[in-house]
Amino acid sequence: MNKLSSSVLEKVSENNNEYRTILRNLNINIDERTSSLVSELVTKTGYTLDFSKSLSDAKDNIVKPVSRIIESYVIRDLRSVETVNEQFIEKINDKLDNTDMNSSEQKENFVNNLNSLLNDKYLEIVKIKRIDFLNQDGENAEIEEKIESYVQNIRSLVMVDDSMLELVSSYKNDLYGMVKKSIDEISNLYQNNFVNEVNSNLNGIIDDSDEDVIVSSPEEFKPFIPEMNIMPEVPTFEPNIDAPVDVLTDIPEINEEPLTTQTTASDFSVTPNGSVNEDMDDSKDDTSEENELEITPIAPIEIKSDDAPKHSYDVDEILKIAKSPILELPSDTEEKDESFINVTPFSSENEIDNIESEFDETEIVEEMIRRLNMRLEGIKTRKESYNEEQEKLNEDEAFVNDLISSSNAKKEELDNFEKQLNEKEEKINKKKEELDKKINDVMPFANAVLNTEKES
């Protein structure tokens, strides 16, 4: 039997690159939500915070680091998923090599094994290999650290009250919600890509095998038909499952012991060197905690036969798989109905009816417009008031400037006057010195004459 080619992995890997689109959208959403948070915080602080600077800080300290953290996680996750993909392709190829599908039972067993492998083991091992982005409290330590750092930064600038902390808390909830949603989308993308591609290739391989068998005994064999996501809305599908078709009867027994759908997850474990082993009980302990994660089922591959199907269809279960790829191969029964095209009738259910808005859209829009108009009016009033005060201040400044210049001129005038007085005083002092000198020159003679008169 042919093997799955390496192009399957390449194709899966190529399809998985769509995670970049999801991450880009997530980053845009985070950016917008962060801008909204900063707006709200600035408003709460009464515009004490510098909006531009706060926004720039938020982008540098929250948006960019968080984007890097998520991208790093997703890339690591993608690597681990691709490792598991590789191991599963090898495992399926081994099974294809060691399986002879000569009888309907063997074929059914083989398909059941593949169903089990893809539905249960693959998802479980992917989840086991995966480290959850959010911890048990629904938080991520690195993101918490970044946000806490930003809050501390705000604390250093303004007083942070409870309402602001509530805003931050609400922001974190929204952020984690967006991140979780995107990671789930990416996870579903990986799983769907793998299952879709493997099923497509397996169908081709098994169909080739069937054709060989049918050639040898065309009346006794029934073609192998894998199905994905049987849609219950199409009424013709359900009866077709049980419809009588040609059955493979002379298929020899399969040499390998078939795997059943009852196999537990621990039967397929991943060794540290990356190989998949069925019997590795040692890995049970290591993975027991992570096995608690809920496993999203992927649509099974089914075989149609004359007998009642051993694998019952759980339609509700299948309906839950909203993101699973729809893969259907043409069957004999469908070929018979080529003249009739199945058309799904319009469903009377309307999901929009179930969605109820908290407020009336007209009222909330009008309220928003009213508030925005009030803010706009406030801005206009403040601008007018500012312009008036600016003009008044300019007049006051001109008046004070006049006073300053006249005061300075008066000071200079007084300085000159004082200088003149000083010169005058100096002149008077000189005159007085001259007079004193003249008198002192004469006074000894006059005193001698006066003394002579007294003696006589």
Binding site: F51, L55, L403, E418, L435
Partner: protein, 125 residues
């Protein structure tokens, strides 16, 4: 013509915002309002600062004016005193000059007497 221009402006404004979805436009609108309010807050704060500065300078200038007035009064008083002193000094100088003028003939007389005594004595010898 004016209506056409206004209509063109409305169309131009609409086309300017067409590229944004509702959420982005709403965020940008909030951002725009916040920015304008922040800008106004800064301008008002600057205006208050300027007002405070004007008040400070006015107060300092008033003190300077008061100081100038006091100084002018003091200098006027000093000028008056100097004038009085100058007048008094001039008076004394004039009086001294008169006395010296009167003393001159007396001093000359004494000088003649001294010269006569010296000449007569030598002739008698």
């Amino acid at each position: 013509m004016v209506e056409e221009l206004q209509e063109n402006n409305v169309i131009e404004a609409n086309s300017k915002f067409e590229k944004y979805d509702d959420m982005t436009l709403f965020n940008k609108m909030i951002l725009c309002l916040n920015t304008e309010e922040e800008k106004l807050s800064r301008k008002e704060a600057k205006l208050e600062e300027q007002k405070r500065e004007v008040e400070e300078r006015l107060a300092a200038t008033n003190k300077n004016i008061e100081s100038n007035i006091e100084r002018e009064n003091a200098l006027s008083q000093r000028k008056l005193e100097l004038s009085n002193r100058e007048v008094e000094l001039n008076s004394k100088l004039s009086e001294a000059e008169v006395i010296f003028l009167n003393m001159k003939p007396l001093i000359k007389g004494l000088s003649n007497i001294t010269n006569f005594n010296n000449v007569g004595g030598s002739e008698n010898e």
